[in-house]
């Protein structure tokens, strides 16, 4: 059984999904970052594969990608990071990538390499279900969950099409726009969770802009099964580039505070 399915099968409390760009600030440190996130209580780890043109990302994650690329983080290196994390834990690992990197490796090869690196699910930023036949086939052959995004703009008809093709969890984009920290959980986020909740039993993970314990609690209260925190974690990494131990301490402290908020509400 896929580790993602197993996690959601075994837990009734919401999952806390922590995101970092693989290779930020360099591959070695990023393994340490990931291990720290996991020890501090992240339930599912999401790694971003750095891409030269991260159109879905705001400035924070763009800068992280640039640091990773400058440190030589190729897709090979990302898989090596995932393997190094896998050595010490069974946490589900999700790999967020841009399609051109999948395409150039060869779709089947990419999914096979991802499986061999211990990756459990792959959301692709620019992969609407309409274009996804090839990646779903490769994902299924490799036992990897094809994870799809649902946006506030997604119509009911397309929600159904996505639900029919997704597995692992649905990635709900909480707001219109790119990744980045935001002040509060928008009304549209809550209504999106409610709308999708009544259509599927798939776990719902809410991402984009979630950064504070209150955000996590609001999403879980509306029926989400997980929150995805990205830019807030990346900001902490960025603030402590010159002191790795302080980086790890700050990450742990932050994860503890967020973990308490997701754990507080039953799913």
């Amino acid at each position: 059984m896929n580790r993602i399915d197993r996690w959601f099968g075994e837990h009734t409390t919401p999952a806390f999904i922590g995101f970092a760009v693989a290779g930020d600030p360099d591959p070695e440190t990023s393994v340490r970052v990931a291990n720290t996130l996991v020890s501090a209580g992240v339930d599912i780890l999401e790694l971003g594969m750095p891409f030269s043109d991260p159109v879905a990302d705001g400035p924070t994650i763009q800068r992280a990608g640039q640091r990773a690329l400058a440190a030589g983080t190729t897709p090979d290196e990302v898989f090596a990071v995932a393997r190094a994390i896998r050595v010490s834990c069974e946490v589900p690992i999700v790999l967020l990538t841009y399609f051109n990197l999948v395409w150039n490796r060869g779709i089947e090869v990419f999914y096979r390499d991802a499986r061999d690196a211990g990756i459990d699910g792959i959301p692709i930023v620019h992969m609407p279900v309409e274009e996804s036949d090839g990646v779903r086939e490769a994902a299924s052959a490799a036992g990897i969950a094809p994870i799809f995004l649902v946006a506030p703009t997604t119509s009911v008809v397309r929600q159904e099409a996505i639900i029919a093709r997704a597995s692992g969890f649905l990635y709900l984009v909480s707001v219109l726009g790119v990744t980045g920290v935001r002040d509060r959980v928008a009304e549209e986020t809550v209504s999106l969770i409610r709308r999708v909740r009544c259509r599927t039993g798939l776990p719902l993970a809410v991402g984009f802009g979630i950064s504070k314990p209150g955000h996590a609690a609001a999403c879980c209260g509306a029926g989400a099964d997980a929150v995805i925190v990205g830019s807030a974690i990346v900001e902490i990494i960025e603030r402590h580039l010159d002191d790795e131990d302080a980086m790890m301490d700050a990450l742990s402290a932050y994860i503890f505070s967020m973990r308490a908020a997701t754990g507080a509400k039953p799913g």
Binding site: F51, V55, L101, P128, T153, I162, L176
Partner: protein, 391 residues
């Protein structure tokens, strides 16, 4: 459905989920407008009364004598705004209004598409924000001021290589946040479906007119047609009507400092297949799929991708492709200015430079048409800096 979003294997709709519904709406609205008599009448009126269509097909006596064949220029430089770009922006701005959108955004490289969007926004009463790479802002100052004068806001882009590709990235980031009320006026035959089809349709007036004008003047079709290729909108606008005719079609790309230097923008000549900005096409990229930095003296050709339809036509062998270096383009810029009294855009100068090269193989009765996609006023400063203006 899936099939019609592509040209052969190329194209598609690789976009963030947030934009999918907007693209489906756009496809529907474009389909309706395409057969809506009132919409087409409005577009046709504004193209003639306001933009100055049809543009002339000029027989160049001096160049014909010099090259030993019959040379014609399709004069998109004479279109209002100074380039072919307005054909597309007027079409898209009308469509945006038709869809009830209240704001336009655009990317621009040379500034011509930004100017053309600013013009369309001004005349049709829609506010315009234009994203432009910081490098391009520095080298296309005239067009930056024109955009501002026309009432548009110019937003500098400091990410990546600070050129056209990064301006597209930033416009897309804006659009995912503003998609409810904003239409993204993409400036070339690139991007996700329906843009390549839609932009080609709006630009096809170039080839329609050229075909008619050539038949009228010469009693037959041209033997060879050349157009420069950045994203490919002036080329596809020119080529589309001739695809089924026995006419050589040549797309001329930015050879920059030479294809072997890696500093160029020639995606058809030297690229590999990949997905950027919503479509599968030829791209300049490394083996892993990271997009390469490009270079061209012509900001409008300084782009690592190219339209999916051109990618298909190249792969199928229907079009020929060539690359021209910065130096050759600069020489052609001077050549046309001196010989015909026409200062071409540096982008268009690439097509002229290749025409000069192939003329040897043409006879006195052969007819060559060059798409003069824009005028070169914007480039005079840059050319002077690079020794392209006599002392």
């Amino acid at each position: 459905m899936q099939k019609s979003t592509r040209f052969g294997p190329f194209g598609g709709r690789y976009v963030p989920e947030t934009l999918m519904e907007a693209l489906l709406d756009l496809e529907k609205a474009f389909g309706r407008a395409d057969i809506d008599v009132a919409f087409q009448r409005t577009l046709s009126t504004i193209l003639t009364e306001y933009a100055g269509r049809p543009t002339p097909l000029t027989c160049c006596a001096n160049t014909s004598r010099d090259l030993g064949c019959r040379v014609y220029l399709k004069r998109e430089d004479l279109l209002h705004g100074g380039a072919h770009k307005l054909n597309n922006t007027l079409g898209q701005a009308l469509l945006a209004r038709y869809m009830g959108k209240s704001r336009l955004i655009a990317e621009t490289g040379a500034g011509q598409h930004g100017v053309a969007t600013a013009i369309a926004g001004a005349v049709l009463g829609l506010p315009v924000d234009v994203y432009m790479g910081a490098t391009d802002i520095a080298r296309q100052g005239l067009n930056v001021d024109r955009m501002k004068l026309l009432g548009a806001r110019v937003i500098p882009v400091h990410s990546g290589s600070r050129t056209l590709k990064d301006a597209v990235n930033e416009a897309l980031r804006d659009w995912v946040a503003s998609v409810g009320d904003t239409h993204y006026v993409l400036g070339s035959v690139v991007g996700p479906h329906p843009y390549p089809l839609m932009v080609r349709t709006f630009q096809s007036v170039i080839g329609e007119e050229t075909r008619e004008q050539c038949l009228q003047k010469e009693g037959r079709l041209p033997d060879v047609i050349l157009a420069c290729v950045g994203g490919g909108s002036n080329a596809m606008g020119m080529f589309h009507r001739f695809i089924d005719d026995p006419v050589r079609l040549i797309g001329v790309e930015a050879g920059g400092e030479g294809l072997d230097t890696g500093r160029h923008g020639a995606s058809l000549c030297a690229g590999t297949e990949g997905v950027l900005h919503g479509a599968l096409s030829y791209l300049l990229q490394d083996a892993a799929g990271q997009i390469a930095d490009t270079h061209s003296i012509a900001a409008g050709l300084d782009y690592p991708g190219v339209g999916p339809e051109l990618s298909h036509l190249k792969q199928s062998g229907r079009i020929e492709v060539a690359a021209v270096t910065d130096r050759e383009a600069l020489d052609a810029f001077g050549y046309l200015s001196r010989n015909e009294g026409i200062i071409p855009a540096l982008e268009s100068s690439h097509a002229i430079a290749h025409a000069l090269r192939i003329a040897d193989h043409l006879g006195p009765d052969d007819i060559m048409v060059i798409n003069l996609s824009g005028r070169g006023d914007k480039d005079v400063g840059e050319a002077a800096q690079r020794g392209g203006v006599p002392g």
